[in-house]
Symmetry: C2
Subunit: 320 residues, 2 copies
């Protein structure tokens, strides 16, 4: 964990795989990325990834490299470096990723769940700096979470801690991919949320900036657009963010009551909605959280932006 060393951070996603070399101050000094779909198998992805690591290693010359951290979108045994399975990428079952990458690159390798990596990154370099106990909530296609307890990442008894997206907020709600019903993610996961908004616009038949910003194409509605419309004061956009915040807030309040953390970090694409999300979220927390626990906790927006996955993965090597 040499102070002058550099660490690779790899952010594996269903769409893009990003690789970056990171210094101990979280500067990404060299970067590469490729589209996941261009590689037809996990073997080819791993080969391409290793090649990118070796290319960057050459290009940066004699800089000492301390290790390679990888964030994977699924269940990972951090201790053994085995990827048990991935949510949206087929063929990744019981892959000894740490061992394989170590052989291919000659570097020490740490593999973890991607949200754990982001949590560690925010804790060491971002909005969670100085936290003792923290929950990081990642809002994206999935709704994930990471937990810091006593200034260390807490992974749980079988490496799946932090799953807040599958908290059922309506026992009679719609079936979720996970097999349960009415999961939080089933309402506020990226696609579910945008679909909900599109349907609401159609049902209401009300003029809204959302549709204007999406070129009047329902399929072009994104969380960014809904956020943009809310920023312009659009009534319907503000309303759907309030609904989003209420659902997220009830579960977050429960987690604050339960874990009594000092910090909550809201990360992921949808956190960029800013005030349209954070204001009603604050109101929901005010209503549903125990006074003592609420008084102690700070609700923050993630600070690491487009490189959060890379920095997080590299920071698996760092502890305070």
């Amino acid at each position: 964990m040499g102070r002058n060393k550099y660490y690779f951070g790899v952010d594996v996603g269903g769409t893009v795989i990003k690789i970056g070399l990171v210094d101990r101050s979280a500067n990404v000094i060299e970067k590469a990325s490729f589209l996941t779909k261009h590689y037809s198998s996990k073997r080819k992805i791993i080969t391409q990834l290793s090649r990118a690591v070796m290319d960057i290693t050459k290009s940066v010359g004699r800089r000492p490299i301390g290790g390679l951290g990888v964030g994977m979108p699924g269940l990972v045994d951090f201790d053994s470096g085995i990827v048990h399975n991935l949510t949206n990428m087929k063929g990744w079952k019981e892959v000894k990723l740490s061992k394989i990458l170590k052989e291919k690159t000659g570097l020490p390798v740490l593999v973890d769940n991607d949200v754990n990596a982001i949590t560690q990154g925010e804790f060491i370099f971002g909005a969670g700096k100085g936290a003792e106990n923290m929950i990081c909530i990642a809002l994206g296609t999935g709704i994930g979470g990471g937990i810091i307890i006593n200034r260390r990442l807490y992974r749980g008894s079988s490496f799946s801690a932090g799953e807040i997206g599958h908290f059922s907020i309506d026992k009679n709600g719609p079936l979720c991919n996970c097999g349960s019903y009415g999961c939080l993610e089933r309402y506020i996961g990226n696609r579910y949320f945008t679909n909900y908004v599109a349907e609401k616009i159609q049902t209401r038949n009300e003029k809204t900036k959302i549709l204007e910003l999406a070129d009047n194409d329902f399929f072009k509605i994104t969380p960014e657009i809904i956020a943009g419309a809310a920023k312009q004061g659009d009534r319907l956009a503000c309303e759907v963010w309030r609904e989003f915040a209420l659902k997220l807030g009830i579960v977050t309040a429960g987690m604050i009551n339960f874990l009594n953390p000092d910090t909550i970090v809201i990360a992921g694409g949808l956190s960029m909605a800013g005030r349209a999300l954070f204001k009603p979220l604050g109101e929901t927390l005010e209503k549903f959280t125990l006074k003592n626990a609420l008084a102690k906790v700070k609700i923050k927006q993630a600070e690491l932006k487009e490189n959060s996955g890379i920095i997080g993965a590299a920071s698996l090597f760092f502890s305070l």
Copy 2:
């Protein structure tokens, strides 16, 4: 923390205060108790409590006593031994209980929340033995919780961790004492549950063993009676336990997903319902918990019975 020493455990409740001397194998070798309402102020309670401790100390002769552990029904700063406030006992605000008891008894004193004490007791001597990460859920007048992380009691950033009773399971539900709405405790806390059952019987106007066991007096219905009726196969009793289990189970499933513990201990009076509660609870968890997390966790009934508060409080001095 001498292996041959004895420790006092004090279980302070709104109804009864129990004092016991406990050995390192969780045997309660001497015991006393008094009714809380017989003492008109906190000063008198503390005096009576100290007197009981001194009496037992004398009666057991030359046995070495290592300390005095106290479980209080409310918010306690464990580090300073200050009781911030108690839920059902007036006048207890910012009481330096640890300091006062130390002066009165000459013993080292540890003061904690009562559910934390029970959690520690179950972890060291009861159903949680061998756990690495565990949640103890105490079902009583209130619905409380305690958390063990990495084989240590986790108290949170302001000593209120474990509060699962105030998870809102219905945002439009009834107002709770805590100021929030639709809290779990508001449905399955002792009194709320028995009231619900009494009302259900009245509405249904259906023959039930519950009423028979309560001498046809709605005010005599207790959780024990509802449990007894369920054991005899009473339809309505089984039904209300299923409803109880569904509400408890949804929140418990969420906590298992979130913390990924290896052990859940269900403690408190209502846990004695046995199969009438545990069977539908298991079914609810099956439905609402992520497979990986569910596969790892054992759901257990608390093992320490009538002395759980005393043993738990004494065990605040013990760690593994």
